[in-house]
């Protein structure tokens, strides 16, 4: 077993690899905080959301669903099982990709990953942390994984808090313009693979078209934002899976 410096075995190696991810997270979560505050979240609620969820797409959907409920309630939000179910279902569908990443990650974990480490380490699976971790040579050690997650995790939480607090202080135009940063990040994730892969391009275009149709056609106006995303994403992914099945791994 290689125990040299710089092989990705140490906490500080992970810490260093996580810095670029953390920088990106701060700017995006800043926009997320502004978005949350504009939909009626308190700064504390926004911070708790980012510190416990650590997911951009899931939180964006959650903000939309909860924001819609807040708007309808006119200030006095009462707990509703329907909204809770919608939130849970939305998180399940949107974050199902983490399950896929977790399956793939499970093949790369060092023997030091016992059940305890698996329970803790899984909380930090995000698109970017997963991508950096899994493309590293060799097995992943727990201390490297925790190092890798440290800067992104705190950047994500702090950025959200700063955004939620600054949303009220910043000049309107600045705060408003930062609200689009999150979607810029989403586009940066989906456009390059769609450009290179026809099947991904098909999936992305179908999902966007369905989502717009359901949003603009009055017939579907009974659908809330969360359900619209769930239905469109599942339908488009099903269509793409039937049209272009991917090669199963050996």
């Amino acid at each position: 077993m290689n125990t040299q410096k710089g092989t990705g075995l140490y906490y500080k190696d992970g810490l260093r690899d996580g810095i670029p991810i953390g920088l990106g997270y701060f700017s995006v979560s800043f926009g997320m905080g502004i978005l949350a505050a504009s939909k009626g979240f308190s700064a504390l609620a926004a911070l708790i959301m980012s510190a416990t969820n650590l997911t951009s797409a899931g939180q964006a959907a959650g903000i939309e669903v909860i924001g819609e409920a807040l708007l309808k309630s006119g200030g006095a939000l009462v707990f509703s099982l329907l909204t809770a179910g919608e939130l849970a279902l939305a998180q399940l569908v949107i974050n199902l990709r983490y399950s896929l990443m977790a399956v793939s990650l499970s093949q790369k974990l060092s023997p030091r990953f016992g059940s305890g480490h698996r329970f803790l380490a899984s909380a930090f699976i995000t698109d970017e942390i997963y991508a950096v971790g899994v493309t590293r040579k060799g097995d992943i050690e727990p201390r490297y994984w925790y190092g890798l997650a440290t800067v992104p995790y705190f950047s994500w939480a702090l950025g959200t808090l700063c955004g939620a607090l600054a949303g009220n202080i910043l000049p309107g135009a600045v705060g408003s313009a930062l609200g689009i940063a999150l979607y810029g990040m989403f586009l940066a994730i989906i456009v390059p693979p769609a450009r290179d892969n026809g099947a991904v391009c098909f999936a992305v275009c179908v999902a966007a078209a369905l989502s717009c149709l359901m949003f603009y056609l009055p017939f579907f106006s009974f659908l809330s934002a969360g359900f619209r995303v769930i239905i469109c994403a599942l339908a488009a992914a099903c269509a793409a899976a039937l049209r272009s099945p991917v090669e199963a791994e050996k």
Binding site: L100, F119, I180, M185, F186, A188, I190, A207, A241, P245
Partner: protein
């Protein structure tokens, strides 16, 4: 406090999607359809989340469209994520000034 309860429900479900496979699954998934579905799902989710919400992400639709266009072009040329996000904001900001 209701918001916090909703947020914690989100967190619990999100954690389970990450934890259960890592803790339980020791074999590879065999269904080709499920694998294909899981491959495309991340992209369709992000796409459905982005459209049409991105058009209303700022206080003016024109500014949002400008930001969206800039993001699309830069992403097409594989500019790093942070730059795409910040450029989209900058483009929207310039539109909002007018």
């Amino acid at each position: 406090m209701t918001v916090i309860i909703y947020v914690l429900i989100m967190a619990a479900v999100t954690y389970l999607t990450r934890m259960l496979p890592l803790a339980l699954i020791r074999e590879k998934i065999r269904s080709r359809f499920i694998i294909s579905l899981l491959t495309y799902l991340p992209y369709t989710v992000l796409s459905a989340l982005t459209f049409p919400a991105v058009f209303y992400a700022t206080s003016s639709t024109a500014a949002s469209l400008a930001g969206c266009a800039v993001a699309l072009i830069l992403a097409f040329f594989k500019v790093p994520m942070v730059l795409v996000a910040l450029s989209a904001s900058a483009a929207s900001f310039i539109f909002l000034l007018f």
